[in-house]
């Protein structure tokens, strides 16, 4: 028995998008099906944003779009046309780690580091609204970010420390 039918493979026209990533403007022609995370990784060569699950569960692909944390594996590049995106590469300022990056490092909030960029951007969104989150609020804010190495304990510490660091600035 045959298991697959032949799909339609009619050529689809590329679409022009203009996306500002970490302050830099990228004007490109993209396939309509190109995911935002593929745009970031393959078109912009910003490989700090990762793919872990393909289905919006793990949040390794989390970036900021117009200041909001979104999962870039679940969004097409064309949907981000005209948007401002911040990826992990955009966090440091003049070569210096930002308070969230520093806090993750100081708290041993990462091991393999694969989930860390997404986690730091979710943290960014949380702390922008709530600089002194309780542990419960932290858990909720990163519920969509899976970490398989740390057991989350040091991530909770890192996020609390990051909040304190940011207040100190």
């Amino acid at each position: 028995m045959h298991e697959t039918s032949v799909p339609e493979t009619a050529a689809v026209e590329n679409i022009a998008v203009t996306i500002r990533v970490n302050g830099k403007l990228y004007a490109r022609q993209v396939e309509p099906r190109l995911l935002l995370v593929e745009f970031l990784r393959e078109t912009c060569d910003l490989t700090g944003t990762h793919v872990g699950c393909d289905t919006t569960y793990c949040g390794a692909c989390t970036v900021l779009m117009n200041g909001q944390a979104i999962k870039s594996c679940t969004m097409f590049a064309v949907q981000a046309d005209g948007a401002e995106i911040t990826t992990v590469e955009g966090l440091e300022k003049d070569g210096k780690l930002d308070p969230i990056q520093k806090a993750f490092g100081d708290s041993y909030g990462l091991q393999c580091g694969y989930c860390t960029p997404g986690l730091m951007l979710s943290t960014h969104q949380l702390l922008a609204h709530n600089p002194e989150p309780s542990e419960k609020e932290i858990r909720k804010a990163i519920a969509g970010n899976t970490c398989r190495c740390t057991g989350y304990m040091n991530i909770f510490k890192a996020i609390q420390l990051a909040g304190q660091n940011m207040k100190g600035i």
């Binding site: 032949v6 393909d54 970490c147 057991g151």
Partner: protein
């Protein structure tokens, strides 16, 4: 920058919780993971996978795919079989006839098995083309359940004639006498340890390039045991070992799962050859990972009989264990012997008979998942201890104290000849009880029970055996050419005097760069900041042995012993050279840091030479060297070998592991009376890995292993339906533990230094899957009064509801029986 004040243990860097050297690049998004690599003319590979668990392949038609513009080539299982040898089988006898290729040839044997692959100019074109491949199947009867598979009604590998992979009996002491003399005999009919995977967040990635004219293969990948992969690939592809170059960089978790990516490595190389030597990249999707990467071993325990004396001290255990390794043995049947590293767990019983059988089934092949093969056995032992305690009426903590190996008995030789280096289990219990507030919880539990709530307190005691004696493979197959264990490292002063360390490991977040620097810093008496460490495997760096990789809780022992050895070797050369230059004796020399950086000083004269000058003499100013110093290179390779002997193959007796870290966890769990969902109310993890090289890294490993265990106990299972469809093929179905589900973990530690290692450290990281045992124990405590025995390692609201229903239907009454003599 690390600060001097961080030094611990009398001014040593070892023992200090230094910040990790790895952090900076990872925090900036500048880590180098395999999928980040782009090469010129790179092509992209996509697999076409079986939708059936067991079926004959009638035809594979790739013509439509090949006709799609942008497709470079396709490759099928038949093509691969025509130009390669089947992979090596570790099991002897009939299993040697199994023809395991990286893609299905005549038959598919699990859902998700690759049948064909397409290679295209882009990843999305490869996706399109893969959908055009037409495969015709004739479905066959699947063998999904291990015990049914052993009936051989439907055989996976006809050439082997049976589904049984291996069987053997471990018998020590006088089991029959122990049963005759027993005051109690407890029988447990059936227990089951479920299938799960620690699912690293980064999927498998392979880039393979095989220049047809050069006969060399170059891999960039995230395989976590490249030395093993290369041995399998070299024989399979008929390419010399040294012509297979494997490079790894940052790896996004492995937990053992990435050890078994060599079949995909084979396909990428063969596809590259067919594509004229263009690099071929394969990036696994999460669903591919779930259905076809590797799962942990599933195990069933049958006919368990336990003999106890009148005090509840276990005197003998007899049991049949049936291990399910999925469709192809691959790394197996090593798990059939690796369990016996912890044969008696943390307990003193001397008489035991374990009949161990492994079978193939039409499910994803297994791989050495964190806690590999020992956790299944430790869970079994912990269930035995708990069930016996309840049956006899001894509190779970008291039961353990009566049965634990005593602190004064270390080093302790187990019934099968393993030597437990050090430990203090009663002390760990004491620390854990204090941390959780044992007496308080006991009171609260009694009150809650009055209110009809189901609250249980459970203890799990486990071992994390590290640094394998690969000689144990000869217990499986006397012709297996493996024994001992080794690791390589190189330590050098580079041309300008920089200290550069290279190790044959491929860490996935364990901080090898940091801890290696700590070790070398102590040897040379300089700051770890002044030391560059290169981890990640690279065949051409020439620091690997046949055992190099990162697996099996051993880096603190094998890796750092190699680093330490290389540093000592370098130091000895530096001393000889400095004594010559400074015109003094070696005893007069002092290592440290002066105004011109790291240096060696003559105490008598105050004269010194810095590292730059030392390196200069050897590398670019060598005419000044004396005749006796011609052998000095300041580039020192050292191979550390573990002090093992080949075990007695017939008796299955001998030391199988060098170090034994231990874990003791306590959990308080409540089962909701309406939803039956278990919830953790309190959790403590106490660890003992001897001397911790970097206590903060150790603590992080404990948290991580604990989260994996909690996830596995309550949320994560690789579920299959009756015909072998995998039901948990996405994260949304598999539900890896999240920040919402993890309880607050209270961490404690004790330290019993290992007498078997130079530093007193014991390998750690796998953690014995302690939470699975602990949560099972807590659930047992919560539900014993309801007549429920916890006999499965996976428990969620659904399974607990079923157990309670079965109990009401009287179906569980024969599961456990106790006979008092």
């Amino acid at each position: 920058m690390v600060e001097e004040k961080e030094k611990k243990n009398g001014g040593r860097w070892v023992g200090a919780s230094l910040p990790r050297k790895e952090e900076d690049r990872l925090l900036r998004g500048r880590g180098k993971f395999a999928d980040d690599i782009k090469l010129r003319e790179m092509t992209y590979l996509r697999f076409v996978r079986s939708s059936y668990a067991h079926a004959r392949i009638i035809s594979v038609d790739t013509s439509a795919a090949e006709a799609l513009p942008g497709v470079v080539c396709t490759i099928t299982g038949k093509e691969i079989a025509a130009q390669t040898h089947p992979f090596i089988e570790i099991a002897p006898d009939h299993i040697q006839k199994v023809r395991d290729y990286p893609m299905a040839v005549e038959k598919v044997r699990y859902q998700g098995e690759p049948v064909a692959a397409v290679v295209a100019e882009s990843a999305s074109l490869a996706d399109d083309a893969a959908e055009l491949v037409q495969v015709e199947y004739e479905p066959l009867e699947p063998a999904i359940n291990a015990e049914e598979a052993l009936l051989d009604k439907s055989i996976l590998h006809e050439e082997a004639g049976t589904n049984r992979v291996w069987s053997g009996t471990w018998e020590f002491g006088d089991v029959e006498k122990a049963f005759r003399d027993a005051a109690y005999v407890v029988t447990i009919d059936h227990m089951h340890f479920h299938r799960f995977s620690s699912t690293p967040l980064e999927n498998n990635v392979v880039i393979g390039q095989w220049e047809p004219k050069e006969d060399r293969i170059h891999y960039w990948c995230n395989n976590s045991f490249p030395s093993f992969a290369i041995q399998f690939l070299a024989a399979h592809l008929a390419v010399h070992f040294d012509r297979i170059r494997v490079q790894t960089a940052d790896i996004g978790g492995s937990f053992g799962i990435k050890i078994t990516s060599y079949p995909q490595m084979s396909v990428c190389a063969l596809a590259s050859k067919k594509a004229g030597g263009r690099p071929v990249k394969w990036v696994e999707t999460r669903s591919e990972h779930m259905v076809s990467s590797a799962h942990g071993n599933e195990r069933t325990f049958r006919d368990t009989r336990v003999a106890l004396d009148k005090n509840g001290v276990i005197t003998a255990i007899a049991s049949r264990h049936i291990d399910d390794c999925g469709a192809y043995p691959r790394y197996e049947p090593l798990g059939c012997v690796i369990y016996s590293q912890v044969f008696c767990g943390t307990y003193r019983f001397k008489n035991a008979r374990i009949e161990f059988t492994q079978t193939v089934t039409n499910k994803c092949p297994v791989g050495p998942n964190r806690g590999y093969s020992r956790m299944q056995h430790l869970w079994f032992l912990e269930r035995v201890v708990d069930i016996c305690a309840y049956e006899i009426g001894i509190p779970a903590d008291e039961m353990r104290l009566r049965n634990y190996i005593r602190p004064e008995e270390f080093p302790y030789t187990t019934p099968n000849g393993c030597v437990y280096d050090s430990g203090n289990y009663p002390k760990m219990l004491e620390v854990a009880k204090k941390l959780i507030g044992w007496d308080d919880w006991k009171k609260k539990q009694a009150e809650a029970r009055q209110q009809g709530r189901w609250i249980g307190i459970g203890i799990g005691t486990t071992l994390d055996s590290g640094t394998n004696n690969f000689g144990q493979s000869q217990i499986i197959n006397p012709y297996a050419p493996f024994s001992g264990n080794s690791q390589g490292a190189n330590c050098k002063l580079d041309v300008y005097g920089e200290v550069v360390v290279a190790v044959g490991s491929c860490p996935q977040g364990q901080g090898h760069e940091t801890v290696s620097a700590q070790v070398v810093a102590d040897v040379l008496n300089i700051s770890p900041d002044l030391i560059t460490v290169r981890t990640g495997f690279d065949t051409e760096r020439n620091v690997h042995t046949g055992f190099s990789g990162t697996y099996a809780s051993q880096f603190a022992v094998s890796g750092l012993s190699a680093v330490h050895g290389a540093a000592q070797k370098l130091k000895a050369e530096m001393k000889r050279l400095a004594a010559f230059v400074l015109q003094t004796t070696q005893d007069d020399l002092e290592f440290g840091v002066g105004e011109q950086g790291p240096e060696i000083k003559a105490r008598s004269t105050g004269k010194s030479i810095n590292y730059w000058s030392l390196a200069n003499i050897v590398n670019v100013n060598s005419a000044v060297l004396s005749e006796e110093l011609q052998d000095v290179t300041l580039n020192c390779r050292y191979i550390w070998r573990a002090p093992f002997k080949v075990p007695d193959r017939e008796k299955k007796y001998g030391n199988l592991t060098l170090t034994y870290s231990s874990q003791l966890h306590i959990a308080v769990v409540e089962v909701d009376r309406d939803t039956f969902i278990p919830r953790i109310l309190d959790y403590v993890a106490v660890d003992d890995c001897g001397v911790a090289i970097n206590p903060a890294i150790v603590e992080g490993q404990v948290y991580g292993a604990t989260a994996h265990g909690i996830g596995a106990a309550l949320m994560e299972t690789c579920a299959y339906d009756a015909v072998g469809n995998m039901l948990t093929s996405t994260f949304s179905d598999y539900t890896p533990i999240t920040a919402m589900n993890i309880p607050k973990i209270k961490y404690g530690y004790i330290s019993t230094p290992s007498p078997h290692t130079y530093s007193g450290a014991k390998g750690m990281g796998e953690g014995g899957a302690a939470p699975i045992h602990t949560i099972s124990a807590a659930l047992q405590d919560a539900l014993f009064a309801e007549g429920v025995f916890i006999n499965d390692s996976f428990n969620n609201g659904d399974s607990i509801f079923r157990s309670l229903q079965q109990r009401e239907g009287g179906q569980l009454s024969n599961l456990v029986r106790m006979e008092k003599r």
